[in-house]
């Protein structure tokens, strides 16, 4: 729990800092003790594919039943990166009632006072969540829970089977400027992607001794940045919207890159379909573990709690997991999967698989891997470096 203590200290400092700012910071309200009647509406900020209400495809809908049952009318807004989600919250502090936050946004939201503690005792689904998703650094601060775990997934490597002749097996292949596909790499457009370069270095340059790709000291960080700068000329596109990557693969501008399973699913099921395959490369992967969180300023607290319960309940959780392509967070959902192998494929119950998946986490100066003899690069340094890499 040492991570939690450090984060609690940071949290305290941040609270003091935000106390002077005036915008977006307020002490977290006390948690409700029971869920009452719905307020009639709910505004959700979510990853694309998480909150489907039939508009993408009529048979992909787990929102309308919720609206009918609770009377809470749901409006959804999607975002492309955690940074975008955080900024949306920051500039519109009262707009969204609920958010699906990955580990690199959740703590920042807590530190900024944007989300409130969640009373997990009154969310029945919480009891069914996999134990190794509970009480993690990114969703629990000082013993206080800030949301309900959703599920987890890995960033994977995708390629067009009609353009790339030999199926790739390593991330290093899209960091190689001499690759035959140079100029057509598709890369995620967010500072957190530096961790992906670090993952490559963990395998290709063991002398750097990187133990955690979010915990990089000056030397390790510089190596990652250099790798990314070398990659830049070979990058065909940086994607921050998943539709951008979809259209790039459809048009042939990019033929290989880092992706989410849902994107591959869409490409394969479009009309006409684009032939793609995916793989989780040998070096391991970055990934994400998401938490449903509640706005500290929400006026629709009951609808929010009802939604949290609904979206993490077994039948709904598995629908999302199968649609998006990730491991569900609810342990009872695997039995309900349409594809009986889904949980095996996505390693929902396989703890060993996740040991080389590095969930998105916000880098901080106190090294996350426990080192105390050096300082690690914090999020501000990552953001700065990312601008430099892209502007090269």
């Amino acid at each position: 729990m040492r991570g939690a203590k450090r984060l609690a200290a940071l949290f305290a400092i941040a609270l003091v800092a935000t106390g002077c700012s005036g915008i977006g910071a307020s002490p977290a309200p006390s948690m409700i003790t029971s869920v009452g009647d719905g307020e009639g509406k709910l505004s959700v900020l979510a990853w694309p594919g998480y909150v489907e209400d039939g508009t993408t495809s009529p048979d992909v809908d787990w929102v309308t039943p919720f609206e009918t049952e609770t009377g809470c009318q749901v409006t959804v807004q999607t975002f492309g990166t955690s940074d975008e989600a955080f900024t949306l919250f920051q500039t519109n502090p009262e707009q969204y009632d609920v958010i699906s936050a990955s580990g690199d946004a959740s703590l920042r939201l807590v530190a900024g006072g944007f989300v409130q503690p969640v009373n997990v005792d009154i969310v029945p689904s919480y009891a069914e969540i996999f134990p190794d998703l509970k009480d993690k650094d990114y969703n629990t601060v000082d013993g206080v829970h800030y949301g309900i775990p959703h599920g987890r997934g890995a960033n994977i490597l995708m390629w067009r089977t009609d353009e790339v002749t030999t199926p790739p097996t390593k991330w290093a292949e899209i960091f190689d400027p001499a690759s035959p596909y140079a100029g057509k790499f598709s890369v995620y457009d967010a500072p957190i992607y530096i961790a992906d370069a670090a993952v490559v270095l963990m395998a290709s340059r063991p002398e750097l001794n990187i133990k955690n790709p979010y915990s990089l000291d000056d030397t390790q960080f510089q190596a990652a940045v250099d790798l990314l700068k070398a990659q830049k000329p070979a990058v065909g596109e940086y994607w921050g919207d998943y539709t951008k990557q979809i259209s790039s693969f459809q048009n042939g501008n990019t033929v290989i890159g880092t992706t989410w399973q849902v994107i591959a699913n869409v490409l394969q099921s479009s009309d006409p379909p684009t032939p793609v395959e995916v793989v989780k490369p040998e070096e391991g992967s970055t990934g994400w573990s998401d938490t449903w969180m509640v706005n500290s300023k929400t006026k629709n607290i009951n609808c929010a709690y009802k939604f949290l319960n609904h979206i993490t309940s077994a039948p709904v959780n598995i629908q999302i997991a199968e649609y998006f392509g990730e491991a569900p967070g609810n342990s009872k959902s695997c039995a309900l999967a349409t594809n009986p192998d889904h949980c095996t494929i996505f390693h929902a119950e396989d703890t060993a698989y996740w040991t080389d998946v590095w969930y998105w986490t916000t880098p901080v100066a106190d090294c996350l891997d426990g080192r105390t003899d050096v300082k690690c690069k914090d999020f501000a340094a990552w953001v700065e470096a990312w601008t430099q890499i892209k502007a090269a």
Binding site: T56, Y242, T274
Partner: protein
Amino acid sequence: MRQGRGGRLALGIVTLLILLFIYVPIALIFVYSFNAGDTPAWPPTGATLRWWGVAIQNTALQQAFLTSLAAALGATAIALVLGTLAAIGVSRYEFFGRESISFIAVLPIALPGIVTGMALSTTFAQIDLPLGFMAIVVGHATFCIVIVYNNAIARLRRVSHSIEEASADLGADTWTTFRYITFPAIRSAMLAGALLAFALSFDEVIVTIFMAGGVKTLPIWIFQSFRLNNQVPLVNVAGVVAILLSVVPVYIATRISSSAVGART
């Protein structure tokens, strides 16, 4: 000036090529709005009216369209009033700082939209004004003022003072002079300015993104639709409709403003 036939032909061909350049991407939008497939891949896979059907029933699209219309009307109205007042003031009076007004009026349109958008939205947030429809109107009006102002002042410079002075000599008060003398003279310039301002506001993206706070104008709907895989084909339909709807007003505006242009002698 008489060019040789060769010169005129060459110019004609170049013009044709340029027009082609201008219209091929537009033509593509038309083509893809009928595309049977749901991807932007080339070539289109077949023809269908499916997207048109979906678009007509899409309430979000209709709502966005109406919102854009309302915002543009509001912004144009404000710009009309403020732009004309400023034009009259600057063209009819001598005063210190006269040149600066033209300069300041141009700034909102000359400075990058992102700067205007960030400035306005941050100020709104700090003084606790809500973002939303009124914020959009304020943002748009700010850069539309100069359009009306430029058109009005160009015309006012061509309309001589003496008619207005004569009117005053004959006993007409300020309002009468304006109503019967000045206004008819600048009316068509104001209209041309208003139409151009309307067009600018209707299609504006960047400032609108900063001021919208959840309200969806048509450009914002388009922007968000590009990020949702299923909505992309609908966007082409929206684009075609916007173009078709604009032809008549633009034609009218052109006739009005050109009819008042002085003869070339």
